[in-house]
Symmetry: C2
Subunit: 241 residues, 2 copies
Protein backbone atom coordinates (compact mmCIF):
# COMPACT_ATOMS: atom_id res chain seq x y z
CA UNK A 1 0.00 0.00 0.00
CA UNK A 2 3.04 2.26 -0.10
CA UNK A 3 2.31 3.83 -3.41
CA UNK A 4 3.25 7.35 -4.42
CA UNK A 5 -0.23 8.35 -3.42
CA UNK A 6 1.04 8.30 0.14
CA UNK A 7 3.27 11.24 -0.68
CA UNK A 8 0.96 13.72 -2.34
CA UNK A 9 3.40 16.58 -2.03
CA UNK A 10 5.89 14.98 -4.35
CA UNK A 11 5.81 16.64 -7.74
CA UNK A 12 4.93 14.71 -10.82
CA UNK A 13 8.38 15.27 -12.23
CA UNK A 14 10.13 13.66 -9.33
CA UNK A 15 8.28 10.47 -10.07
CA UNK A 16 9.04 10.63 -13.74
CA UNK A 17 12.73 11.15 -13.15
CA UNK A 18 13.23 7.93 -11.26
CA UNK A 19 14.30 5.01 -13.38
CA UNK A 20 11.37 3.45 -15.13
CA UNK A 21 9.80 1.03 -12.68
CA UNK A 22 9.06 -1.72 -15.15
CA UNK A 23 9.71 -2.01 -18.85
CA UNK A 24 6.73 -4.27 -19.27
CA UNK A 25 3.80 -1.94 -18.98
CA UNK A 26 1.52 -1.09 -21.83
CA UNK A 27 1.02 2.44 -20.55
CA UNK A 28 3.60 5.08 -19.82
CA UNK A 29 3.64 8.80 -19.18
CA UNK A 30 4.97 9.20 -22.69
CA UNK A 31 2.14 7.29 -24.27
CA UNK A 32 -0.42 9.09 -22.15
CA UNK A 33 1.01 12.48 -23.07
CA UNK A 34 1.23 11.84 -26.79
CA UNK A 35 -2.28 10.44 -26.92
CA UNK A 36 -3.70 13.40 -25.04
CA UNK A 37 -1.85 15.88 -27.23
CA UNK A 38 -3.04 14.11 -30.32
CA UNK A 39 -6.64 14.44 -29.22
CA UNK A 40 -6.23 18.09 -28.30
CA UNK A 41 -4.55 18.93 -31.59
CA UNK A 42 -7.21 17.18 -33.61
CA UNK A 43 -10.39 17.99 -31.73
CA UNK A 44 -9.61 20.73 -29.28
CA UNK A 45 -9.02 20.78 -25.59
CA UNK A 46 -12.64 20.05 -24.72
CA UNK A 47 -12.34 16.68 -26.39
CA UNK A 48 -9.60 15.71 -23.97
CA UNK A 49 -11.59 13.73 -21.47
CA UNK A 50 -10.24 11.08 -19.21
CA UNK A 51 -12.57 8.60 -20.85
CA UNK A 52 -11.73 9.74 -24.34
CA UNK A 53 -8.05 9.50 -23.51
CA UNK A 54 -8.50 5.99 -22.19
CA UNK A 55 -10.37 4.99 -25.32
CA UNK A 56 -7.59 6.42 -27.45
CA UNK A 57 -5.11 4.33 -25.50
CA UNK A 58 -7.30 1.25 -25.65
CA UNK A 59 -7.56 0.88 -21.89
CA UNK A 60 -10.17 1.24 -19.19
CA UNK A 61 -11.29 4.72 -18.17
CA UNK A 62 -9.41 4.69 -14.91
CA UNK A 63 -6.17 3.32 -16.24
CA UNK A 64 -4.41 6.63 -16.98
CA UNK A 65 -4.82 7.60 -13.34
CA UNK A 66 -1.94 5.30 -12.59
CA UNK A 67 0.33 7.85 -14.28
CA UNK A 68 -1.36 11.17 -13.69
CA UNK A 69 -2.98 12.01 -10.41
CA UNK A 70 -5.86 13.78 -12.09
CA UNK A 71 -6.77 15.99 -14.97
CA UNK A 72 -4.57 18.84 -13.81
CA UNK A 73 -1.62 16.54 -13.88
CA UNK A 74 -2.55 15.43 -17.35
CA UNK A 75 -2.58 18.99 -18.62
CA UNK A 76 0.82 19.64 -17.11
CA UNK A 77 2.13 16.54 -18.76
CA UNK A 78 0.76 17.69 -22.10
CA UNK A 79 2.32 21.11 -21.73
CA UNK A 80 5.67 19.66 -20.90
CA UNK A 81 5.40 17.27 -23.78
CA UNK A 82 4.86 19.87 -26.46
CA UNK A 83 7.38 22.31 -25.03
CA UNK A 84 9.98 19.71 -25.77
CA UNK A 85 9.78 20.90 -29.37
CA UNK A 86 10.76 24.44 -28.50
CA UNK A 87 14.49 24.81 -28.89
CA UNK A 88 16.33 28.06 -28.37
CA UNK A 89 19.44 28.55 -30.46
CA UNK A 90 22.43 29.33 -28.29
CA UNK A 91 25.24 31.76 -28.89
CA UNK A 92 23.04 34.64 -29.85
CA UNK A 93 22.92 38.09 -28.34
CA UNK A 94 20.27 38.75 -25.75
CA UNK A 95 17.98 40.48 -28.19
CA UNK A 96 18.10 37.73 -30.75
CA UNK A 97 17.57 35.18 -28.02
CA UNK A 98 14.49 36.98 -26.75
CA UNK A 99 13.25 37.37 -30.27
CA UNK A 100 13.76 33.69 -30.96
CA UNK A 101 11.98 32.84 -27.72
CA UNK A 102 9.01 34.88 -28.81
CA UNK A 103 8.84 33.60 -32.37
CA UNK A 104 9.36 29.99 -31.39
CA UNK A 105 6.70 30.24 -28.72
CA UNK A 106 4.32 31.69 -31.27
CA UNK A 107 5.03 28.83 -33.63
CA UNK A 108 4.43 26.33 -30.87
CA UNK A 109 1.15 27.89 -29.80
CA UNK A 110 -0.07 28.01 -33.38
CA UNK A 111 0.72 24.35 -33.76
CA UNK A 112 -1.08 23.53 -30.52
CA UNK A 113 -3.74 26.15 -30.23
CA UNK A 114 -5.17 24.52 -27.14
CA UNK A 115 -2.16 25.83 -25.23
CA UNK A 116 -3.87 29.21 -25.22
CA UNK A 117 -7.02 27.77 -23.70
CA UNK A 118 -5.42 26.12 -20.73
CA UNK A 119 -6.45 27.11 -17.24
CA UNK A 120 -3.75 29.50 -16.06
CA UNK A 121 -2.43 27.08 -13.47
CA UNK A 122 -1.52 24.66 -16.21
CA UNK A 123 -0.40 27.41 -18.54
CA UNK A 124 2.48 28.53 -16.38
CA UNK A 125 3.18 25.36 -14.51
CA UNK A 126 6.82 24.77 -13.88
CA UNK A 127 7.47 21.80 -16.06
CA UNK A 128 11.03 20.68 -16.80
CA UNK A 129 10.98 21.71 -20.43
CA UNK A 130 9.62 25.11 -19.59
CA UNK A 131 12.15 25.55 -16.84
CA UNK A 132 14.93 24.69 -19.25
CA UNK A 133 13.73 27.35 -21.65
CA UNK A 134 13.50 29.95 -18.92
CA UNK A 135 16.98 29.03 -17.78
CA UNK A 136 18.40 29.38 -21.24
CA UNK A 137 16.66 32.68 -21.87
CA UNK A 138 17.79 34.09 -18.54
CA UNK A 139 21.34 33.02 -19.08
CA UNK A 140 21.37 34.96 -22.34
CA UNK A 141 20.83 38.04 -20.24
CA UNK A 142 23.92 37.58 -18.14
CA UNK A 143 27.01 39.67 -18.59
CA UNK A 144 25.08 42.79 -19.46
CA UNK A 145 25.50 44.39 -16.10
CA UNK A 146 21.91 43.76 -15.07
CA UNK A 147 20.93 42.74 -11.59
CA UNK A 148 18.74 39.72 -11.03
CA UNK A 149 15.52 41.71 -10.84
CA UNK A 150 16.22 43.49 -14.11
CA UNK A 151 17.06 40.25 -15.87
CA UNK A 152 13.83 38.68 -14.77
CA UNK A 153 11.87 41.78 -15.70
CA UNK A 154 13.13 41.48 -19.25
CA UNK A 155 12.24 37.84 -19.51
CA UNK A 156 8.86 38.35 -17.99
CA UNK A 157 8.01 41.33 -20.14
CA UNK A 158 8.71 39.37 -23.29
CA UNK A 159 6.89 36.34 -21.99
CA UNK A 160 3.88 38.37 -20.90
CA UNK A 161 3.62 40.08 -24.24
CA UNK A 162 3.88 36.83 -26.13
CA UNK A 163 1.20 35.12 -24.14
CA UNK A 164 -1.15 38.06 -24.21
CA UNK A 165 -0.73 38.53 -27.93
CA UNK A 166 -1.16 34.85 -28.68
CA UNK A 167 -4.25 34.55 -26.53
CA UNK A 168 -5.80 37.16 -28.74
CA UNK A 169 -4.51 35.81 -32.03
CA UNK A 170 -5.66 32.30 -31.28
CA UNK A 171 -9.05 33.39 -30.01
CA UNK A 172 -9.64 35.18 -33.29
CA UNK A 173 -8.43 32.17 -35.20
CA UNK A 174 -10.73 29.89 -33.26
CA UNK A 175 -13.63 32.19 -33.87
CA UNK A 176 -12.97 32.13 -37.60
CA UNK A 177 -12.57 28.40 -37.76
CA UNK A 178 -15.63 27.75 -35.67
CA UNK A 179 -17.70 29.90 -37.99
CA UNK A 180 -16.33 28.13 -41.02
CA UNK A 181 -14.65 31.19 -42.44
CA UNK A 182 -11.11 30.69 -43.55
CA UNK A 183 -10.36 34.17 -44.77
CA UNK A 184 -9.87 37.14 -42.54
CA UNK A 185 -11.53 39.64 -44.83
CA UNK A 186 -14.77 37.80 -44.65
CA UNK A 187 -14.29 37.60 -40.93
CA UNK A 188 -14.24 41.31 -40.48
CA UNK A 189 -16.92 42.16 -42.98
CA UNK A 190 -19.41 39.47 -42.31
CA UNK A 191 -18.52 37.67 -39.15
CA UNK A 192 -19.30 38.87 -35.80
CA UNK A 193 -22.86 39.92 -35.57
CA UNK A 194 -21.45 41.40 -32.43
CA UNK A 195 -19.08 43.67 -34.29
CA UNK A 196 -21.65 44.64 -36.86
CA UNK A 197 -24.10 45.54 -34.21
CA UNK A 198 -21.61 47.55 -32.24
CA UNK A 199 -20.66 49.51 -35.32
CA UNK A 200 -24.25 50.22 -36.19
CA UNK A 201 -24.67 51.95 -32.89
CA UNK A 202 -22.26 54.58 -34.17
CA UNK A 203 -20.70 54.83 -30.75
CA UNK A 204 -17.23 53.84 -31.87
CA UNK A 205 -16.09 56.19 -34.60
CA UNK A 206 -12.38 55.65 -34.05
CA UNK A 207 -12.81 51.93 -34.12
CA UNK A 208 -14.86 52.15 -37.26
CA UNK A 209 -12.22 54.29 -38.87
CA UNK A 210 -9.70 51.59 -38.08
CA UNK A 211 -11.87 48.91 -39.62
CA UNK A 212 -12.34 50.82 -42.83
CA UNK A 213 -8.83 52.12 -43.42
CA UNK A 214 -6.42 49.60 -41.91
CA UNK A 215 -4.58 47.42 -44.37
CA UNK A 216 -2.88 44.89 -42.08
CA UNK A 217 -5.89 43.65 -40.16
CA UNK A 218 -5.21 40.11 -41.32
CA UNK A 219 -1.44 40.11 -41.07
CA UNK A 220 -1.16 38.42 -37.72
CA UNK A 221 2.54 37.95 -38.06
CA UNK A 222 3.17 41.63 -38.72
CA UNK A 223 1.06 42.54 -35.73
CA UNK A 224 2.91 40.13 -33.51
CA UNK A 225 6.35 41.25 -34.56
CA UNK A 226 5.50 44.92 -34.43
CA UNK A 227 4.44 44.61 -30.82
CA UNK A 228 7.42 42.44 -30.05
CA UNK A 229 9.73 45.10 -31.42
CA UNK A 230 8.11 47.65 -29.17
CA UNK A 231 8.92 45.50 -26.20
CA UNK A 232 12.49 44.83 -27.24
CA UNK A 233 13.13 48.45 -28.15
CA UNK A 234 11.72 49.49 -24.84
CA UNK A 235 14.06 47.17 -23.01
CA UNK A 236 16.97 48.72 -24.83
CA UNK A 237 15.75 52.17 -23.92
CA UNK A 238 14.89 51.36 -20.33
CA UNK A 239 18.00 49.45 -19.39
CA UNK A 240 20.47 51.09 -21.74
CA UNK A 241 21.76 47.83 -23.17
Amino acid sequence: MATEKDNPGEPLWARLERPAPAPRQTLSPQRVATAAVKIADAEGLDAVTMRRLATELGVAPMAPYRYVSGKDDLLELMVNHVYDDLRLPGNLGWRETMRALALQTRKLLLRHVWLAQLPPTAMLSLTPNRMAIAEKALSALEGLGLDADAMMSVFRAVDAYVHGAMTYEIAVQNLMRQQGWSDGGKLRSELAPQMIWHMQTGRYPTFQHYLSTATRKDDARWQFETGLDYVLDGIVAGLDI
Copy 2:
Protein backbone atom coordinates in the same frame (compact mmCIF):
# COMPACT_ATOMS: atom_id res chain seq x y z
CA MET B 1 -50.49 15.48 -10.94
CA ALA B 2 -53.40 17.76 -10.21
CA THR B 3 -52.50 20.86 -8.30
CA GLU B 4 -53.98 21.74 -4.98
CA LYS B 5 -55.96 24.48 -6.62
CA ASP B 6 -58.12 21.82 -8.16
CA ASN B 7 -59.18 20.86 -4.72
CA PRO B 8 -61.40 23.59 -3.27
CA GLY B 9 -61.26 22.08 0.17
CA GLU B 10 -57.55 22.40 0.38
CA PRO B 11 -56.45 23.71 3.71
CA LEU B 12 -54.58 26.94 3.91
CA TRP B 13 -51.60 25.15 5.36
CA ALA B 14 -51.04 23.11 2.30
CA ARG B 15 -50.66 26.22 0.23
CA LEU B 16 -48.37 27.79 2.77
CA GLU B 17 -46.15 24.74 2.66
CA ARG B 18 -45.39 25.42 -0.96
CA PRO B 19 -42.51 27.74 -1.69
CA ALA B 20 -43.42 31.38 -1.42
CA PRO B 21 -45.65 32.72 -4.18
CA ALA B 22 -42.64 34.70 -5.36
CA PRO B 23 -43.37 38.12 -6.73
CA ARG B 24 -43.05 38.31 -10.48
CA GLN B 25 -40.10 39.85 -12.25
CA THR B 26 -37.69 38.67 -9.66
CA LEU B 27 -34.94 38.22 -12.18
CA SER B 28 -33.17 40.59 -14.53
CA PRO B 29 -29.86 40.54 -16.40
CA GLN B 30 -28.57 42.95 -13.81
CA ARG B 31 -29.46 40.73 -10.90
CA VAL B 32 -28.10 37.69 -12.66
CA ALA B 33 -24.82 39.44 -13.41
CA THR B 34 -24.29 40.84 -9.93
CA ALA B 35 -25.10 37.53 -8.30
CA ALA B 36 -22.71 35.64 -10.56
CA VAL B 37 -19.95 38.18 -9.98
CA LYS B 38 -20.52 38.00 -6.26
CA ILE B 39 -20.08 34.25 -6.30
CA ALA B 40 -16.98 34.42 -8.47
CA ASP B 41 -15.39 37.11 -6.31
CA ALA B 42 -16.05 35.20 -3.13
CA GLU B 43 -15.46 31.60 -4.12
CA GLY B 44 -13.74 31.61 -7.46
CA LEU B 45 -14.91 30.97 -10.96
CA ASP B 46 -15.38 27.26 -10.44
CA ALA B 47 -18.07 27.97 -7.90
CA VAL B 48 -20.10 29.74 -10.56
CA THR B 49 -22.39 26.99 -11.72
CA MET B 50 -25.84 27.49 -13.08
CA ARG B 51 -27.30 25.74 -10.07
CA ARG B 52 -25.29 27.71 -7.57
CA LEU B 53 -26.27 30.90 -9.33
CA ALA B 54 -29.91 29.94 -9.17
CA THR B 55 -29.61 29.15 -5.48
CA GLU B 56 -27.98 32.51 -4.86
CA LEU B 57 -30.89 34.16 -6.64
CA GLY B 58 -33.42 32.07 -4.75
CA VAL B 59 -34.81 30.61 -7.90
CA ALA B 60 -35.05 27.30 -9.75
CA PRO B 61 -31.96 26.00 -11.52
CA MET B 62 -33.26 26.70 -15.01
CA ALA B 63 -34.59 30.16 -14.30
CA PRO B 64 -31.51 32.17 -15.28
CA TYR B 65 -31.66 30.65 -18.74
CA ARG B 66 -34.45 33.08 -19.49
CA TYR B 67 -31.82 35.83 -19.50
CA VAL B 68 -28.65 34.13 -20.65
CA SER B 69 -28.63 31.56 -23.37
CA GLY B 70 -26.08 29.40 -21.61
CA LYS B 71 -22.99 29.52 -19.53
CA ASP B 72 -20.95 31.33 -22.17
CA ASP B 73 -23.48 34.08 -22.21
CA LEU B 74 -23.34 34.30 -18.47
CA LEU B 75 -19.59 34.78 -18.52
CA GLU B 76 -19.89 37.54 -21.09
CA LEU B 77 -22.48 39.22 -18.97
CA MET B 78 -20.19 39.04 -15.97
CA VAL B 79 -17.27 40.48 -17.91
CA ASN B 80 -19.30 43.37 -19.16
CA HIS B 81 -20.66 43.97 -15.71
CA VAL B 82 -17.30 44.39 -14.01
CA TYR B 83 -15.75 46.37 -16.84
CA ASP B 84 -18.30 49.01 -16.09
CA ASP B 85 -16.05 50.00 -13.20
CA LEU B 86 -13.10 50.74 -15.43
CA ARG B 87 -13.06 54.39 -16.30
CA LEU B 88 -10.36 56.03 -18.36
CA PRO B 89 -9.64 59.65 -17.57
CA GLY B 90 -9.89 61.83 -20.65
CA ASN B 91 -7.75 64.72 -21.71
CA LEU B 92 -4.46 63.00 -21.15
CA GLY B 93 -1.63 62.46 -23.57
CA TRP B 94 -1.49 59.13 -25.35
CA ARG B 95 1.14 57.76 -23.04
CA GLU B 96 -0.68 58.65 -19.88
CA THR B 97 -3.84 57.24 -21.34
CA MET B 98 -2.17 53.94 -22.17
CA ARG B 99 -0.61 53.89 -18.76
CA ALA B 100 -3.95 54.53 -17.10
CA LEU B 101 -5.51 51.81 -19.21
CA ALA B 102 -2.89 49.37 -17.99
CA LEU B 103 -3.02 50.33 -14.35
CA GLN B 104 -6.79 50.44 -14.22
CA THR B 105 -7.03 47.08 -15.91
CA ARG B 106 -4.62 45.68 -13.38
CA LYS B 107 -6.70 47.04 -10.54
CA LEU B 108 -9.81 45.54 -12.04
CA LEU B 109 -8.26 42.13 -12.51
CA LEU B 110 -6.93 42.13 -8.98
CA ARG B 111 -10.37 42.93 -7.68
CA HIS B 112 -11.88 40.17 -9.79
CA VAL B 113 -9.16 37.60 -10.13
CA TRP B 114 -11.44 35.21 -11.95
CA LEU B 115 -11.16 37.48 -14.98
CA ALA B 116 -7.76 35.94 -15.59
CA GLN B 117 -9.19 32.43 -15.57
CA LEU B 118 -11.84 32.96 -18.16
CA PRO B 119 -11.86 30.87 -21.28
CA PRO B 120 -10.31 33.06 -23.97
CA THR B 121 -13.56 33.43 -25.87
CA ALA B 122 -15.12 35.15 -22.89
CA MET B 123 -11.94 37.03 -22.10
CA LEU B 124 -11.93 39.06 -25.26
CA SER B 125 -15.59 39.07 -26.07
CA LEU B 126 -16.77 42.33 -27.50
CA THR B 127 -18.99 43.59 -24.75
CA PRO B 128 -20.22 47.17 -24.77
CA ASN B 129 -18.17 48.30 -21.84
CA ARG B 130 -15.02 46.80 -23.31
CA MET B 131 -15.73 48.37 -26.67
CA ALA B 132 -16.13 51.74 -25.03
CA ILE B 133 -12.75 51.40 -23.39
CA ALA B 134 -11.07 50.38 -26.61
CA GLU B 135 -12.69 53.30 -28.38
CA LYS B 136 -11.49 55.75 -25.79
CA ALA B 137 -7.97 54.34 -25.79
CA LEU B 138 -7.77 54.38 -29.56
CA SER B 139 -9.04 57.92 -29.79
CA ALA B 140 -6.24 59.02 -27.50
CA LEU B 141 -3.85 57.88 -30.23
CA GLU B 142 -5.28 60.15 -32.88
CA GLY B 143 -3.54 63.23 -34.07
CA LEU B 144 -0.11 61.74 -33.72
CA GLY B 145 0.36 61.08 -37.39
CA LEU B 146 -0.11 57.34 -37.02
CA ASP B 147 -2.00 55.28 -39.54
CA ALA B 148 -4.78 52.99 -38.42
CA ASP B 149 -2.58 49.91 -38.28
CA ALA B 150 0.00 51.64 -36.13
CA MET B 151 -2.63 52.93 -33.73
CA MET B 152 -4.07 49.51 -33.28
CA SER B 153 -0.63 48.01 -32.85
CA VAL B 154 0.00 50.34 -29.94
CA PHE B 155 -3.27 49.51 -28.26
CA ARG B 156 -2.83 45.82 -28.79
CA ALA B 157 0.74 45.76 -27.57
CA VAL B 158 -0.26 47.38 -24.31
CA ASP B 159 -3.30 45.18 -23.96
CA ALA B 160 -1.35 42.03 -24.70
CA TYR B 161 1.32 42.89 -22.17
CA VAL B 162 -1.22 43.70 -19.50
CA HIS B 163 -3.13 40.48 -19.94
CA GLY B 164 -0.04 38.32 -20.11
CA ALA B 165 1.47 39.94 -17.05
CA MET B 166 -1.73 39.71 -15.07
CA THR B 167 -2.28 36.09 -15.96
CA TYR B 168 1.04 35.38 -14.37
CA GLU B 169 0.60 37.64 -11.38
CA ILE B 170 -2.81 36.25 -10.57
CA ALA B 171 -1.75 32.66 -11.02
CA VAL B 172 1.00 33.20 -8.47
CA GLN B 173 -1.43 34.91 -6.16
CA ASN B 174 -3.90 32.06 -6.47
CA LEU B 175 -1.18 29.57 -5.77
CA MET B 176 -0.22 31.39 -2.61
CA ARG B 177 -3.75 31.79 -1.37
CA GLN B 178 -4.63 28.22 -2.13
CA GLN B 179 -1.69 27.04 -0.08
CA GLY B 180 -2.63 29.32 2.75
CA TRP B 181 0.51 31.42 2.56
CA SER B 182 -0.06 35.09 2.63
CA ASP B 183 3.50 36.25 2.42
CA GLY B 184 5.59 36.06 -0.67
CA GLY B 185 8.83 35.29 1.09
CA LYS B 186 7.41 32.13 2.49
CA LEU B 187 6.06 31.38 -0.93
CA ARG B 188 9.42 31.32 -2.55
CA SER B 189 11.27 29.61 0.23
CA GLU B 190 8.78 27.00 1.20
CA LEU B 191 6.04 26.84 -1.34
CA ALA B 192 6.20 24.99 -4.49
CA PRO B 193 7.51 21.54 -3.96
CA GLN B 194 7.84 21.88 -7.68
CA MET B 195 10.28 24.76 -7.46
CA ILE B 196 12.25 23.19 -4.65
CA TRP B 197 12.59 20.01 -6.56
CA HIS B 198 13.64 21.73 -9.74
CA MET B 199 16.29 23.68 -7.91
CA GLN B 200 17.63 20.57 -6.23
CA THR B 201 18.39 19.11 -9.61
CA GLY B 202 20.97 21.85 -10.03
CA ARG B 203 20.05 22.22 -13.64
CA TYR B 204 19.02 25.84 -13.41
CA PRO B 205 21.93 27.85 -12.04
CA THR B 206 20.82 31.17 -13.51
CA PHE B 207 17.36 30.74 -12.13
CA GLN B 208 18.74 29.81 -8.75
CA HIS B 209 20.95 32.85 -8.78
CA TYR B 210 17.87 34.95 -9.39
CA LEU B 211 16.03 33.35 -6.51
CA SER B 212 18.84 33.96 -4.10
CA THR B 213 19.85 37.50 -5.03
CA ALA B 214 16.74 39.25 -6.33
CA THR B 215 15.19 41.75 -3.96
CA ARG B 216 11.94 42.57 -5.73
CA LYS B 217 10.55 39.09 -6.15
CA ASP B 218 7.46 40.05 -4.18
CA ASP B 219 6.94 43.51 -5.54
CA ALA B 220 4.31 42.68 -8.10
CA ARG B 221 3.53 46.30 -8.76
CA TRP B 222 7.14 47.16 -9.54
CA GLN B 223 7.37 44.21 -11.87
CA PHE B 224 4.21 45.20 -13.65
CA GLU B 225 5.17 48.83 -14.10
CA THR B 226 8.70 48.04 -15.15
CA GLY B 227 7.46 45.86 -17.95
CA LEU B 228 4.81 48.40 -18.85
CA ASP B 229 7.48 51.07 -19.16
CA TYR B 230 9.42 48.85 -21.51
CA VAL B 231 6.39 48.61 -23.74
CA LEU B 232 5.65 52.32 -23.64
CA ASP B 233 9.28 53.29 -24.18
CA GLY B 234 9.43 50.89 -27.08
CA ILE B 235 6.42 52.49 -28.67
CA VAL B 236 8.08 55.85 -28.40
CA ALA B 237 11.23 54.48 -29.96
CA GLY B 238 9.49 52.51 -32.66
CA LEU B 239 7.03 55.12 -33.82
CA ASP B 240 9.00 58.22 -32.96
CA ILE B 241 6.18 59.86 -31.06
